[in-house]
């Protein structure tokens, strides 16, 4: 499949939650097959970008666009689409904090998911992917990821450890094979070995036909997934983009230089976090 020119383009994106502006003009372009890293201090808006790309109903796009460019050059702005329509177009988000769905087995969620994503026109009630075929594929993917097949019988994220949740997200990524994926801190809560395994798994799943935005605080996840570009978010904007050396610098030295270089964004950051404090005070 020719995927060279398929792109996900975020343009001057402004996003508000409960009327409060969080993203203040984000620009980002990811080609299918490319890996990008997104770093930035806590609260800078990284997860918000992931939610906005998937269409979380609480995250309101107040201006700007999120466009999907097809290989034939067709462009479509997806900001009005439902999250499931976006998933069926080949978008994916590995959650920083995945939701538990008690009583629903990982395999059942995945069987519905796979059926819809591979057959985007499928309506509820229409046939699901065949049980045998699905089971076989699931088992194969799980063994590749060194996961026990019993795992698929557990209820989605219900009582999972932090590490299990992240591995379940990677399993879903592997089964759904999106065109563009946002991996939101898929390494947090994992020990060093698990991060290495995750890094290898993602490298194996990805490849030429997947565009990936890796949100991370660490370099290890990038070890097997060398990013084409590393972006730094501060105060709801991407303030700097560079090669892999940027990740190394931030990992070693933190964000002081970034804050000093971009005082406006730093001021926004301060405003956003003081807003949080005000909320906390109001709540107590």
């Amino acid at each position: 499949m020719s995927s060279g020119s398929e792109k996900l383009i975020v343009k001057d994106l402004h996003v508000a939650v409960e009327g409060k502006e969080i993203l203040r003009g984000v620009d980002l372009e990811i080609g299918r097959g490319e890996i990008h890293a997104l770093m930035g201090p806590n609260g800078s808006g990284k997860s918000t970008l992931g939610y906005a790309i998937m269409g979380h109903p609480s995250y309101e796009v107040t201006s700007g666009s999120i466009e999907l460019i097809e290989a034939d050059g067709t462009r479509r702005n997806i900001v009005e689409l439902e999250p499931d329509e976006r998933a069926r177009l080949g978008l994916f988000l590995a959650f920083q904090r995945p939701m538990a769905i008690p009583g629903v087995r990982v395999a059942d969620l995945l069987r519905h998911a796979v059926s819809n994503v591979r057959n985007p026109l499928r309506k509820e009630g229409q046939e699901l992917i065949g049980m045998r075929e699905f089971r076989q594929e699931l088992r194969a993917k799980m063994s590749e990821l060194q996961m026990d097949s019993e795992f698929a019988r557990r209820y989605v994220n219900d009582g999972f450890s932090g590490g299990e949740m992240k591995r379940a997200e990677i399993l879903q990524l592997a089964m759904l094979r999106p065109r563009f994926a946002v991996l939101d801190e898929t390494d947090s809560g994992l020990d060093a070995d698990a991060v290495r395994l995750a890094s290898q798994s993602i490298a194996k799943i990805g490849g030429a036909d997947m565009g990936i935005l890796v949100i991370t605080h660490h370099e290890q996840l990038l070890e097997h997934n060398i990013p084409l570009r590393t972006h730094v978010m501060l105060g709801g904007r991407i303030v700097e983009s560079a090669g892999p050396e940027l990740a190394a610098e931030l990992h070693k030295l933190g964000y002081d230089r970034i804050r000093a270089t971009y005082p406006d964004a730093a001021a926004n950051e301060a405003a956003m976090s003081s807003g949080n404090r005000a909320e906390v005070t109001a709540a107590t």
């Binding site: 998937m54 979380h56 109903p57 439902e82 999250p83 499931d84 976006r86 998933a87 069926r88 994916f92 988000l93 959650f95 995945p98 939701m99 538990a100 769905i101 008690p102 009583g103 629903v104 059942d108 969620l109 995945l110 519905h112 998911a113 819809n116 994503v117 509820e124 049980m131 209820y155 989605v156 879903q172 759904l176």
Partner: protein, 456 residues
């Protein structure tokens, strides 16, 4: 089109025409209950069991026993029909995961409490099993067999509806399983109502020592909610689980939404006996159910499962009692209800432990899931413990479908509706995991899933 049968009144004339068909001892009991019935008025809100029940629109004088419907009257299907071999021999499951369709050892179908048809597997009957409507069984079984159990467990004077039932019961089923007989296939009672009809069926199940059986009762029909006549069910269930016997009892209430449903149900579990009792409710306009389990012999075990789904303006009220009368018994109740629209679900649960019931293990828990802002669920657990060496726990949760769960599933390609149905199915999974009869589980899951609309 269903036939509307104008009810007579619950009066002396109606009583005597029923008594005329009964053995004398049964008729005497009816007359005693009738006296009590006449002295009682509608339960009111000063009674704790009824304080959350809206009875203002119930007109006692509007109801009476239904006459026998003509042969053209329409019967209804229960929700188990599609999973039950006797209904559709050519059952072909579209879903490979569905379990084998269920074969029945016997079946009774009634309409307005009048027998339509019944059958009992020859092999089963030859092992001494009695299965039929009370009329049918009393015609063949001796008085000494039935009399000790007939209206022995439930209190026919408890309130006006209990007395109405005891005076005017007709239809239902008697099940007798002799000592040591183990029935693998379920016995099935389907009670149907015409629009405006009444059903006062009485169910008595007696398992001898070491016997095993599965009994499923289902209800269907009656009129829809609105200004029509709806229907009335005023029923009773008595379960006697003998020593070391094992009974799986399932009651599926799926009346149309214009039906008033009043039910008094009690099980007695003897020493070493096991009861798995599943109550499922999808229908009726208003339900008032008293479900009691008495653990009367040492080491008895009762598991109680509740699966409720309400919508529209339905109102379902459950008062449950787990009464530990003997030592070393286990009772474990789990009710799960999902509420849509403006419906209301009330559960009041009580674990009562007598002084002699040491080493009791009692659990009760009720979870409700609101699918709309206007639905209302009340869970009121209670403990009354006189013994000192016991373990009793209770709990109740009430929640909404979490929008974050819906979003998560949507991110995986499920539509919002599909996601909601999956989340609700997950909510019931814990209680489905306990119900060991696969076709019952599947039929309930399917019936509930069909009723869920977009989460508001």
């Amino acid at each position: 089109m269903s036939t509307v049968i104008a009810p007579a009144a619950f009066d002396q004339t109606a009583l005597e025409s029923l008594c005329a068909l009964d053995p004398p001892w049964v008729a005497d009991r009816r007359r005693a209950a009738f006296e009590r019935f006449q002295s009682l008025s509608l339960p009111d809100r000063s009674d704790e069991n009824w304080m959350r029940t809206e009875l203002r629109l119930f007109k006692r004088s509007a109801w009476g026993p239904s006459v026998q419907p003509g042969p053209e009257a329409v019967e209804h299907e229960g929700i188990l029909a599609r999973n039950t071999k006797s209904f559709s021999e050519n059952f072909l499951s579209p879903e490979a995961e569905l379990s084998e369709p269920m074969r029945l050892a016997g079946q009774i179908v009634t309409l307005n409490g009048h027998l339509r048809r019944s059958r009992c597997d020859q092999l089963v009957a030859s092992r001494g099993v009695l299965f039929g409507t009370p009329e049918q069984v009393m015609a063949v079984a001796g008085e000494s067999m039935i009399r000790p159990h007939w209206f022995n467990a439930i209190d026919s004077g408890a309130d006006m509806f209990a007395a109405m039932h005891a005076a005017f019961h007709r239809g239902g089923a008697i099940v007798f399983i002799p000592d040591g007989v183990r029935l693998e296939q379920p016995l099935h009672l389907l009670s149907c109502l015409t629009e405006g009809g009444t059903d006062l069926g009485h169910v008595l199940v007696v398992l001898g020592k070491g016997a095993e059986a599965t009994v499923i009762t289902e209800t269907a029909g009656g009129g829809p909610a609105g200004s029509g006549p709806g229907g009335l069910h005023c029923g009773g269930i008595e379960l006697i689980v003998g020593e070391n016997a094992s009974l799986r009892m399932v009651n599926i209430q799926n009346w149309n939404t214009g039906v008033w449903h009043f039910a008094r149900q009690k099980a007695k579990v003897h020493s070493g006996g096991k009861l798995q009792w599943t109550l499922a409710a999808l229908g009726s306009r208003l339900s008032q159910v008293a479900q009691d389990v008495a653990l009367v012999g040492v080491g008895a075990h009762a598991q109680v499962n509740g699966v409720m789904f309400t919508e529209g303006r339905q109102q379902l009220i459950y008062n449950t009692l787990q009464h530990h009368e003997a030592a070393s018994c286990i009772s474990d109740l789990l009710y799960k209800g999902a509420l849509q629209d403006r419906s209301r679900l009330v559960w009041r649960g009580m674990i009562k432990v007598d002084k002699s019931a040491q080493k009791t293990n009692g659990y009760q828990r009720s979870d409700t899931l609101m699918l709309s802002e206007h639905a209302r669920g009340d869970s009121i657990p209670g403990l009354e413990i006189e013994a000192d060496d016991v373990r009793c726990t209770h709990g109740a949760t009430s929640g909404r479908v979490d929008r974050e769960q819906i979003f998560y599933a949507q991110c995986r390609g499920l539509s919002a509706d599909e996601a909601a149905r999956l989340v609700v199915a997950g909510f019931f999974q814990q209680v489905f995991d306990r119900i060991t009869i696969a076709p019952v589980r599947e039929a309930l899951a399917e019936a509930i899933s069909e009723r869920i609309r977009r989460i508001q």
